[in-house]
């Protein structure tokens, strides 16, 4: 059986440097305004009386039951055996129903091509035996990529659950 792949980002260790965003831009070349991974922050917050600054790199989580796939009226969204959720740009009609359906707001509209796109874990790299473009350039080394099983072992079940609300 094909192993499920996953990417987990340890938010606490993210420095907010945006390198992952540029690594993705270089690899996947989305047009201006489209960010398949984006480092978001609420800025400095007071949490339990203490100042905190948390960066949150948001991107497609490759949900196990993807609401975007269910919402697509033309069946352009497919899930591979390894869990990667792919949008077929030939089939996509640009209706944005998937963008509405995604609870995480990570689907990006490519206005040049008139289609919806999103992070696909650089499946073309994975298929060549490489890792997603953002992983190894990260200064905080907070992007973990591997099989779900590996990552569960590596990070611990609890931590994984906390980072993956869809599970």
């Amino acid at each position: 059986m094909t192993q499920k792949l996953a990417m987990i980002i340890e938010k606490e260790a993210c420095w907010g440097c945006n390198t992952c965003e540029l690594a993705c831009k270089q690899e996947n070349n989305p047009p201006e305004g489209s960010r398949w991974i984006q480092v978001k922050t609420q800025g400095v917050q007071k949490v339990h009386g203490k100042l905190r600054l948390i960066y949150d790199p948001v991107r497609c989580l490759q949900c196990s039951r993807p609401p975007c796939k269910e919402a697509c009226p033309v069946d352009a969204i497919q899930q591979r055996a390894d869990g990667i959720v792919l949008i077929d740009s030939e089939a996509c009609n640009g209706c944005k129903a998937c963008m509405e359906a995604c609870p995480f707001g990570v689907m990006q509209f490519n206005s040049e091509k008139g289609v919806v796109e999103k992070c696909h874990l650089c499946y073309h790299r994975i298929d060549r035996g490489e890792r997603p473009a953002c992983v190894d350039k990260c200064i905080g080394r907070c992007i973990y990529f591997g099989t779900l099983e590996e990552l569960l072992t590596r990070l611990g079940d609890e931590r994984f659950k906390a980072n993956n609300p869809q599970e």
Binding site: G16, N18, L22
Partner: protein, 715 residues
């Protein structure tokens, strides 16, 4: 070192090749694998074998692709057509450009003396030693740099205090790191890069952060000391006071290796934590806690940055931090602050040919009699250059040749800078784009980026490495500044001191290693063999052979041999008369991740990260001033004003405003490119009386300002 064949698994197609090189989009040094296909750079990956960056990169490094192929890049030399600054240009050949430069320089030298010609760079594109060589051989002592307020002071102060620049020894696992005035992850620390700090913290090192702003480093810290801007030296002296009081210092080291201990202790006694708390706003208990944590955790190091240098306390900030490292026994020990051993190459100062500048010319360095420590290190304060142009005092400056510099945006008192550059007889600029500075030039040269040159990179740095930078592509007629100066030098009186080709110059730099550039490039880098506690054998390289907490060199130069706190020249304490109109303390120069100083605003991927400048303001202050998140605001100082957008944050004191520097808008109409809109240097001061008395460092980090909403639409 692996050969390039081992990287083949990263290749896309049989026609793609990989060149191992070192980035220089900022102050540089990260190892990169540049993927090339059909003569074009197609991808930049981090080099996992790099001892500097360990495979990581930053947004700017990756975006180098968009820099090299940018449609606005200068591709051939341009000569001004019509009046200055009207944006009309005529293409000329390199030969014509060289002849013009040589004729101008020979003419001014003959009529006004070589000192009437100023060469300049900004923060330097690894071209510094070539520029100094050219200037020294020309006979001018005037090289306009950022060295008076950036890195130069750390080097100069370290050399007079302990013989060399001490650098955090991340490889040997410091257990406590004190980051002082440096956002070392997002900005560019010289020597090692952010990943070393990040890795050290991941391994569990304790972290103390001294910063008026709550950065991500502050978030990760064990202790964050939010000090009043400009009071760093008082805070450091207060910490030393605690260390002395609680006898937490290394008694043996102090006994054998410190010069002037008694005098130093007497001086420190003037800074008890109670007084220091009043000066710095840092609570007494936190000062004590930080002092104890730093002194008790071994080994420990201080990751310092440029912020402490852009102050009237520049030199004393630096030497007090050296004192902190020294008395806690952390100098030149594994995991402490160490003196790296350079690999066998010619030194940058040898290549710079400083000895060939005649003494009578050296004595003419502008402002050399005022800022005497800077003068001893061939550094000058820019204000003296602008004065020499505008008022011809003490003598006229007729020509400026700026090589990688945009002072209209990056130097204090931008109005004065602009006026001087408009007036100077002849201005030549070598750069990538027509910047607001280059727009004022008579001659513009197209500079090569790091992807378009061979170089023995960073042989001036003090991390013990030289790195191979390799030419991957040729863009237009662009030339590296090294090649340009070598070719120009060969057309002038100084011709015997240059080489037939720039490659032979690189071989000369490498000569002590007995490697040719090709052999060196094959290796990728050279590292000096590290040895710790070198002082046990040969002492410290200072006049007394010890760490001079009482500085004999400063005394000889006519300065206070001991560190002291000077109240910033424009602060609520020193200028209460200004408070009614300018009630807030202004910090300038907050570093974003997207840009390096005034560069990169034209690069789409980077501009998307930060489309507009912002100013940090506490929500309470914003409410008081009627400012909401995202509003365009007017920032004003007694000298001028500019516009940025408000970003409300709890991470700054309500009495302090933090502004970004170096903004211009390449997309806006030539020749101004909106340089007056968001340029914080319209507010900064360059009066020598406000600068560090020894180094001439400009005070950019503690001014007074007011802030108000800018009504109406965005500018």
């Amino acid at each position: 070192m692996k050969t390039l064949k081992d990287s083949n698994n990263l290749l896309r197609s049989p026609t793609e090749s990989v060149v191992r090189s070192h980035c220089r989009i900022c102050h540089g040094g990260c190892g990169v694998l540049v993927h090339v296909k059909e003569g074009k750079v197609v991808r930049i990956e981090g080099d996992p074998e790099s001892p500097i960056s360990r495979g990581t990169l930053c947004p700017k490094g990756i975006a180098s692709i968009q820099l090299v192929y940018h449609p606005d890049r200068l591709l051939h030399p341009l000569k001004r057509k019509g009046a200055r600054g009207k944006g009309k240009w005529e293409r000329v050949s390199w030969e014509e450009a060289y002849q013009m430069l040589a004729a101008k320089m020979n003419g001014y030298k003959k009529q006004y003396g070589a000192e009437s010609i100023v060469l300049g760079y900004g923060t330097g594109r690894d071209n510094e030693s070539f520029i100094y060589r050219f200037a020294n051989l020309l006979g001018t002592p005037n090289v306009l740099t950022a060295g008076h307020m950036c890195y130069g002071p750390r080097v100069a102060t370290s050399i007079i205090t302990c013989g060399n620049l001490p650098v955090c020894d991340y490889e040997r696992n410091p257990q406590c790191i004190m980051v002082w005035g440096n956002n070392a992850i997002l900005s560019n620390p010289d020597e090692y890069k952010g990943v070393y700090l990040s890795d050290a913290l991941a391994k569990g090192a304790k972290l103390i952060v001294v910063d008026p702003r709550f950065t991500k480093l502050a978030d990760r810290s064990n202790l964050w000391l939010q000090l009043r801007p400009g009071t760093d030296v008082a805070l450091a002296l207060g910490m030393i006071h605690v260390i002395l009081e609680e006898k937490l210092y290394d008694k043996e080291f102090v006994q054998h290796w410190v010069h002037g201990w008694r005098e130093f202790v007497e001086r420190v006694e003037q800074y008890p934590p109670k007084r220091v708390a009043q000066i710095t706003w840092v609570p007494e208990e936190k000062i004590r806690e930080a002092a104890r944590l730093f002194a008790a955790t071994k080994p420990a190091c201080i990751q310092w940055g440029v912020a402490i240098e852009q102050s009237i306390n520049c030199v004393d900030n630096n030497r007090t931090l050296i004192a902190l490292a020294a008395i806690t026994g952390n100098l030149d020990v594994p995991g402490g602050m160490v003196f790296y051993v350079p690999p066998p190459t010619m030194s940058a100062s040898q290549f710079g040919a400083h000895r060939l500048l005649p003494p009578e010319q050296r004595r003419k360095r502008l402002g050399g009699d005022v800022f005497r420590l800077a003068d001893a290190f061939a550094i000058l304060n820019p204000k003296f250059v602008w004065d020499a142009i505008l008022h011809e005092k003490p003598y006229p400056v007729k020509m400026i040749f700026l090589i990688s510099s945009n002072p209209v945006i990056t130097r204090a008192n931008a109005s004065m800078v602009h006026e001087a550059l408009e007036k100077v007889d002849f201005l030549a600029v070598s750069d990538f784009f027509l910047t607001p500075t280059a727009e004022l030039a008579d001659l513009v040269l197209p500079a090569a980026t790091w992807l378009e040159m061979d170089y023995v990179a960073e042989f001036w740095k003090r991390h013990g490495y030289v790195l191979a930078r390799k030419k991957v592509i040729q863009v237009g007629e662009c030339k590296s500044d090294h090649e340009m100066l070598n070719e120009l030098g060969r057309r002038m009186e100084q011709k015997d001191h240059w080489w037939p080709t720039v490659h032979e110059a690189l071989n000369a730099i490498l000569q002590p290693s007995r490697l040719t550039f090709e052999e060196f490039a094959e290796k990728g880098f050279l590292r000096g063999e590290m040895e710790y506690r070198k002082y046990l054998k040969k002492g410290f390289s200072t006049p007394t052979g010890k760490v001079e907490l009482y500085s004999t060199r400063m005394k000889d130069l006519g300065y206070d041999p001991l560190p002291q706190f000077r109240e910033p020249p424009e602060s609520p304490v020193s200028r209460p008369d200004l408070l009614k109109d300018y009630p807030y303390i202004l910090i300038t120069g907050m570093r974003p991740t997207a840009f390096f100083h005034s560069e990169h605003r034209q690069i789409p991927w980077l501009r998307e990260l930060l489309p507009e400048p912002y100013v940090e303001i506490h929500p309470e202050t914003a409410e008081k001033e009627g400012i909401e998140e995202g509003d365009w605001v007017i920032l004003e100082s007694p000298r001028g004003r500019c516009f940025q957008r408000a970003r409300l944050t709890l991470g700054i004191d309500p009495r302090v405003i933090g502004a970004q520097h170096a903004w211009w808008f390449p997309e806006r109409e030539s020749p101004e490119h909106g340089w007056r809109e968001a340029n914080i240097n319209l507010l900064t001061d360059n009066d020598p009386a406000t600068c560090d008395p020894a180094m001439g460092a400009t005070n950019l980090r503690a001014l007074l300002c007011r802030i108000s909403p800018r009504e109406g639409e965005k500018p």
